[in-house]
Amino acid sequence: MFYLQILINGIMIGALYAAMAMGLTLVWGVMNFINFAHGVLIVLGAYTTFYVFQFWGLNPFFALPLSMVLMFLVCYFLQKLLINLIVRASVFMTLIMTFGLDTLLTNLAILAFTVDYRMVSLPYTGSGFSIGSLTIPYIRLLSLVIAFGLTGGLILFMNRTKIGNAIKAVGLDKEAAQMVGVNVAKTYAITFGIGGALAGAAGSLIAPIFSFSPIFGGEVGLKCFVIVCLGGLGSVAGAIVGGLTLGLAEVFGSVLIGEGFKNAIAFGLLVVILVLRPQGIIGRKFFAEIKH
């Protein structure tokens, strides 16, 4: 039963990780653009949820769409006005730009919200249901359901909508996509916006689970980076696989080796995957190609 509890813990945290990484993998896979600021976007989503809860009493799970819309708009306009200027530049330039954006947004968040830790405490925080000696907290279960729901929604969007197909086409070959009438600039903006919306959703999910502050963004961003590399670049399902793999590796590694080695386990796993299968567990080669 103990190992079953550990397994459940791993799946729940893994689903959360997957939700966090989805936006990053989408942007990276389609635009070949490593968004260093992804972590702070998640934190801004968490702050949106927190303040909506504080002022209007809206449950974080109902505030999730609001958080998504807000972060979509922020990222859409960021891409159109700023990132579009360097999207054709080398990967190094995009890293520098998003690193600067991350620093700017983090410090603006510190000014606005201070670095005090916040958390959304709901009446059922800490509550859960028990099956024998197994305990499943309600909030983590809800987050797991929503994370899978978001993944399913995104997969449907990418496969069944015109915009989704356009995004996939641009990710595969932007010149060819342009030739068939896809507006690449607009598609990039929408993709970045969707990435931001997913970051906002992840922020809403973490707000009732972890305490957060603006400086949390760096750690979150780094974790997302590991998940994306593990699962496979540009693959939504890869984010799920990567998230679950990391979550399970952390919990079982913690039991077998020690909690103190959790970060070492995560990055060690990354190194192994990069050596043995650089495109990620389920990533496909052409998604992982560097275009420049």
Binding site: V115, G128, T135, K262
Partner: protein, 432 residues
């Protein structure tokens, strides 16, 4: 002469060059400008020295965490320092050195909770700002790093935020502390637990991988051996982690009587939240840092109830004091100025200031070495933090921790008996 100087300054006005009409400035004019500039410079120097002569100021420096993961504690420490500064300047008129009153001023820099930045800022305080009387940063990691810099420059540092034994065990001369060291932290809690009937048997320890928590846990393990408690779980987690559900799940299976969690404020909040999530029960649940801070109850609400914490001081500790008169006065003035009840981080700042003040008074000097010599064998029968007796390493060997517990959304003192304001609630009820 003017015929040579003017062209040299103003350029050659040869008839062969096609130039426009040129303004001629006489050498007298230039000389006049120079003269008045020099006069103004001398006058301003005179004025500033006059201003300085009117008000003597002792300058202190402090690299403190105003942003970052330790900012809550950093702000608290700074508030304590600011109150001490205000008290000295406004109420006492300054620190008396050989019959002259010196006001105090403190220059702060934000170390962003980063040890590398702490070292750079301390070097800046000493080299750029010329300040050699320093208050430490907050947290053992930053004090450990920063005190190496202050030692290098022979700048005296009074500790206001770090208690790891390693800080004071390096043979450094230029750091002193009015509080004790980390191994003392959990001892009061365990002493209190040992007095309960039936006596608890098993202890689980989970702590963050930082210098302060490791030291505190070392002291806890020694105390457990002394009191006959069995340590059934003892594990470290990475500093700053957001999920400790796995070790907590292991602890739940062991059903310990006592659960000790080491770490700073955010680690304590995380531990309580996730212990409730996973229904990890213990008759005594204690966190190393954070419990006395009002934000602890704000963050956790009813989940904070009955959690035990500790510190070097609580508002219930009311010693007679040579600077403040009494601990009660300190609390009253703090609430008046900052509009909240002080916790031990605020006390650390104010007590650090008091220690410097007493040292300067004894040395009758602001020279760091003279003040440090004054701390050799330094004894004070009663102060804000109780009696002081400095050992060779600059540590107050008479310091003891105070234990508190969250009861009805407030942190109340429960140990030692002479300062207890409420009874210890034991056992902690299981999570619903």
């Amino acid at each position: 002469m003017a015929g040579f100087v003017a062209p040299a300054i103003l350029g050659n006005n040869s008839a062969n060059e096609e130039v426009g009409p040129m303004k001629e400035r006489s050498p007298i004019f230039c000389g006049g400008i120079l003269f008045f500039t020099l006069l103004a410079l001398l006058f301003s120097l005179f004025l500033s020295s006059e201003a300085w002569a009117e008000e003597k100021i002792i300058k202190f420096g402090c690299s403190i965490s105003l942003t970052g993961s330790l900012s809550r504690e950093g702000y608290g420490t700074r508030d304590g320092l600011e109150l001490w500064k205000w008290w000295v300047n406004e109420k006492l008129g300054g620190i008396d050195i050989k019959g002259v009153k010196y006001k105090v001023d403190i220059k702060y820099y934000d170390d962003e909770s980063n040890a590398v930045r702490t070292v750079k800022l301390i070097e800046k305080l000493v080299t750029d700002d010329g300040i050699k009387l320093l208050f430490s940063p907050y947290s053992s990691g930053l004090v450990f790093a920063g005190s190496a810099a202050s030692e290098k420059y022979k700048a005296l540092m009074v500790n206001v935020g770090g208690t790891a034994e390693q800080i004071f065990g390096r043979g450094f001369r230029y750091i002193v502390t009015g509080t004790g060291t980390s191994p003392l932290y959990f001892k009061g809690v365990l002493d209190l637990a040992a007095k309960q009937n039936p006596k608890p048997k098993t202890v689980a320890i989970l702590y963050a991988n930082d210098i302060f928590s490791r030291d505190a846990v070392k002291g806890a393990v020694d105390k457990c051996k002394e009191l006959g408690f069995e340590v059934t779980f003892n594990q470290v987690f990475p500093q700053g982690t957001k999920d400790i559900s796995t070790p907590l799940t292991e602890i739940r299976a062991l059903q310990p009587d006592i659960l000790l969690v080491g770490g700073h404020y955010s680690d304590s909040v995380l531990a309580v939240q996730q212990a409730k999530d996973l229904k990890v029960n213990a008759k005594l649940f204690s966190c190393l840092v954070g419990v006395p801070v009002p934000e602890f109850v704000k963050a956790l609400g009813k989940d904070a109830e009955d959690v035990v914490g500790m510190g070097w001081w609580t508002p219930d500790v009311n010693y007679q004091d040579p600077i403040w008169g009494s601990g009660e006065t300190f609390v009253k003035e703090f609430v008046k100025k900052f509009n909240y009840t002080p916790d031990y981080h605020n006390f650390d700042g104010a007590f650090g200031g008091e220690l410097f003040q007493l040292g300067i008074k004894k040395a009758q000097s602001t020279d760091p070495m003279e003040i440090r010599k004054a701390f050799d064998g330094f004894e004070v029968p009663s102060s804000l933090g109780g009696p002081i007796k400095m050992d060779k390493q600059g540590v107050n060997v008479l310091a003891q921790t105070v234990v508190l517990q969250i009861q009805n959304d407030k942190a109340v003192t429960i140990w030692p008996k002479q300062v207890a304001a409420a009874k210890f609630i034991y056992p902690k009820p299981p999570w619903e």
